[in-house]
């Protein structure tokens, strides 16, 4: 019963989180629309970004905010502002990735535009010789493509295994060392520990 209540508590925390995020999304979206109507596009982009950062799966505000940002990016004439807008859209989506990547189809299109914008802006700002254009583009691409994020699968294996081997030891101590030593528990607990500990090490190594 007590264990069930702890699960219920965690479920409650998740549901509350979703509710609060959804409310934030609604308020921020309204604010963003207002600011956009007032002719402040950069502020509007920042507020739409916050709508995405308060991401709720299947919320209509996610899609609306992305669409508004895309339109804003298209209509901005200043290249620096355009870069800010495109980078904001891409970055906000990266911050919402979990074991899956919501709206990742948007990322590739955005990245192409960002790379071109950065190259053009760099050339305008620094006047490098024509022969270097390709190198500039290539280096910017390398920087953009490098991702520190480890493998989702192996990260999950590693972190969940850590929790499981800690639980195995706790279980072994609790059930195996009661007044009479319970050999069966000791053996199964130790086997569990070895299994998850090994998985943990492998997961950490490969991730």
């Amino acid at each position: 019963m007590r264990r069930l209540l702890i699960v219920f508590l965690i479920v409650f925390i998740i549901i509350t989180s979703l509710g609060v995020l959804l409310k934030n999304q609604r308020d921020l979206f309204r604010e963003a629309e207002l600011v956009q109507a007032m002719g402040r596009p950069l502020m509007a982009v920042s507020l739409y970004e916050r709508v995405i950062l308060n991401y709720v799966p299947f919320s209509p505000y996610n899609k609306k905010a992305i669409e508004r940002m895309e339109n804003l990016c298209k209509n901005l004439n200043d290249k620096k502002y355009k870069l800010f807008c495109e980078e904001t859209l891409r970055s906000s989506l990266y911050q919402t990735r979990s074991f899956y990547f919501p709206y990742n189809e948007k990322i590739k299109e955005t990245e192409k535009r960002i790379l071109l914008l950065k190259t053009e802006l760099y050339i305008e700002h620094n006047n490098p010789p024509d022969k270097d254009y390709e190198k500039i583009y290539k280096d910017l691409k390398t920087m953009m493509e490098y991702d520190w994020y480890p493998s989702v699968f192996w990260s999950l294996i590693a972190t969940v295994s850590l929790i499981l081997w800690i639980l195995c030891i706790t279980f072994t101590i609790w059930k195996g060392f009661s007044k009479q030593i319970n050999k069966r528990i000791l053996i199964s607990g130790t086997a569990g520990f070895i299994l998850f500990f090994t998985l943990w090490l492998i997961g950490l190594y490969i991730a």
């Binding site: 409650f12 925390i13 995020l21 891409r90 970055s91 920087m143 991702d147 520190w148 994020y149 950490l204």
Partner: protein
């Protein structure tokens, strides 16, 4: 009944929690956790792996998911407090009283709603405390000893203050010395098993993002023992125990101030009664609880918080973070005092009082909720996110960004490695504000940047081209003592300084025009600074630090018909500039005043004890 309270506090913590990156070292924790790397010494592998699991939750953004770790461990700690007090008093109202008292306290709430390892640390400590209390009431059981040893090992993979539980353990196990010694060897074995979590550092020390990489035993010990903090390393801190009696007096004073600012004054008599009454319940219990309380109050304060006068940052980091176990001990002992009062009332024939007094006391304590929903409400605190993003946005492609201090540095790491915002910017942090030694931690993997078209000269130590092209920025102005000052000079930019060669002249209007290009974003950032509610010293620091740059924006705006002028003193190395006031910059100046008002040091709970306040009084 307790579950209703726990649900209620879960709800409150979630609504007041930070929805994006919070200030301080949160940025670093998010980066280290999401890349399965290592955080600043002592590395925090256990915390990072738990953060990583939560990063897979499919809602919010990565920072908010990691805040949920704090919420959950705080709620678990509250539940354990309930179990402990219930075990001691066998009274549900008393247990709820202790839970509410702790849940609404300033620092407990504050740490529950941001990314910080203290709630996890507290959970482990309170779990150990619970096992000890069970030993006192149920008698010696070797399982408790083994579990405690395992927990001690685990806590060394999180925060070292958990290790101080050895002191109350030692006192408790003196009562069971024979059994304790008999099971010492397996206990050591379980301790080692818990300690094994630190293997994470060897495996991920060079694979994930690591503030200090770990590759062998020496580098492991360097991180684990926090040697980079020099006088703040674990070994040096431990030496403080024996240094000077004065330190103990200040420690007592400071610990008392922390208690005074976390709990209502009328609880203190309950706490005193609680100590006395715990002796009546069981001498063993009283000695153990008092030892626990003294360890995490006076002794901990002596080690890390025994200055006679300390500045605001020290008060924020010390008072607001380290003492959660002391606050928990206080809540438990006050609960025992509450139990005594209730017991006395129950002996009388006044039936109404038997219900009214406990309910009234719990309600009185609960009133602090309203205060906490203001001073610990991070829901609208986007400042760490926005300030850094605005800075990065304002820089041209291929710039170098020099940072100093946790706030700017860690937040820039977050944007680079997690948010993947402006990867074309190479972050470098000052080893020391007066040194030209730069650490390349915001420019990783170095091989990509070092050999790139943009930064190869910079990495060879030649800053002339990059600074001439206005692609070098610094959060702090280069001081006269820094060797960089021989070749570079500071120019106000968007919440940073643009570093240009000393012999290069730009007309001021040229830079000013470029500065105003980002007026809308600077204004947006300052709107946040003018409206956030939380009493967060590092957020305040970020806003106040950004103010002179914002004033420079007001100066940069062209005013056609000035109604007057303002002499602006930056309070740094006698730097002053004149702002022409007019319709064009009126909005900026009004917002400046609002930011100043919202970020007054007086808003800090501990302000009246700080060096800054005392100096102002003189």
């Amino acid at each position: 009944m307790i579950y209703i309270f726990l649900l209620f506090f879960s709800f409150l913590y979630i609504i007041s929690s930070s929805k994006v990156l919070n200030s301080g070292d949160a940025g670093e924790f998010v980066v280290s956790a999401s890349t399965l790397g290592i955080a600043h010494p002592s590395g925090y592998p256990l915390y990072l792996e738990i953060l990583k699991i939560f990063s897979f939750l499919p809602f919010g953004n990565i920072s908010f998911r990691m805040v949920i770790v704090s919420v959950i461990f705080s709620i678990f700690s509250l539940y354990l407090i309930y179990r402990i007090v219930l075990k001691i008093t066998n009274d549900k109202w008393t247990s709820v009283f202790s839970v509410v008292l702790l849940a609404v306290s300033y620092s407990f709430w504050g740490q529950s709603v941001v990314i910080k390892f203290y709630p996890l640390n507290l959970f482990i400590i309170i779990f150990m405390l619970y096992l000890c209390i069970k030993t006192i009431f149920d008698g010696y059981d070797r399982r408790y000893q083994f579990l405690l040893s395992f927990m001690i090992g685990l806590t060394l993979a999180n925060h070292h203050t958990g290790f101080m539980m050895l002191i109350p353990f030692f006192v408790l196990f003196l009562y069971y010395i024979k059994n304790f010694l008999k099971n010492l060897l397996p206990s050591l074995f379980f301790f080692c098993l818990g300690f094994l979590v630190n293997l994470h550092m060897f495996i991920r020390g060079q694979k994930g993002f690591a503030v200090n990489s770990v590759s062998d035993l020496n580098s492991f010990l360097f991180v684990f023992l926090r040697k980079s903090f020099e006088s703040g390393s674990s070994i040096e801190i431990a030496k403080n125990i024996t240094s000077g009696i004065d330190g103990y007096l200040y420690a007592i004073k400071n610990a008392f101030i922390v208690l005074q600012n976390n709990f209502p004054f009328y609880i203190i008599p309950l706490f005193i009664i609680g100590i006395w009454y715990s002796f009546r319940i069981s001498k063993k219990l009283a000695i153990f609880l008092t030892t626990f309380f003294l360890t995490y109050s006076v002794l901990l304060a002596k080690l890390v918080f025994s200055g006679s006068i300390m500045n605001m940052d020290a008060w924020y980091m010390g008072a607001h973070q380290y003492f959660l176990p002391m606050l928990s001990g206080f809540a438990i002992l006050s609960g025992i005092g509450f139990f005594f009062i209730i017991k006395q009332i129950k002996k009388t024939s006044m039936e109404l009082l038997k219900i009214v007094v406990p309910v009234a006391l719990i309600l009185m304590v609960s009133l602090s909720i309203f205060e906490r929903l203001i001073d610990q409400n991070f829901n609208d605190n986007y400042i760490p996110h926005t300030v850094t993003k605005t800075i990065l946005t304002s820089m041209p492609v291929g710039s170098v960004y020099l940072t100093y201090g946790d706030n700017h540095t860690f937040q820039s790491w977050y944007f680079k490695y997690v948010a993947k915002y402006r990867e074309d910017i190479c972050g470098q942090d000052y080893f020391d504000p007066e040194s030209n030694k730069l650490l390349s931690r915001g420019c990783q993997p170095e091989s990509i940047y070092k050999n790139s078209y943009f930064f190869s000269d910079f990495f060879k130590g030649d800053f002339s081209y990059i600074s001439k092209q206005q692609r070098m920025y610094s959060v702090i102005s280069i001081s006269k003592r820094n060797p960089l000052t021989q070749s570079l000079k500071n120019q106000y930019w968007v919440f940073t300084h643009l570093l240009i060669p000393v012999n290069l002249y730009f007309p001021e209007s040229y830079i000013e025009k470029k500065h105003t290009h980002w007026q809308e974003l600077q204004y947006f950032t300052m709107l946040d600074c003018a409206s956030y509610k939380a009493d967060d010293q590092f957020t305040r620091l970020l806003c106040n630090y950004s103010l002179p740059f914002f004033a420079y924006l007001a100066k940069s705006i062209e005013v056609k018909n000035p109604s007057g002028t303002l002499e602006y003193d930056t309070k740094k190395e006698n730097e002053k500039f004149t702002i022409k006031v007019g319709l064009e910059n009126r909005e900026i100046l009004d917002l400046y005043s609002k930011v100043l008002q919202n970020n007054k040091p007086e808003r800090f709970k501990y302000y009246t004890y700080t060096k800054e306040y005392l100096e102002k009084q003189k």
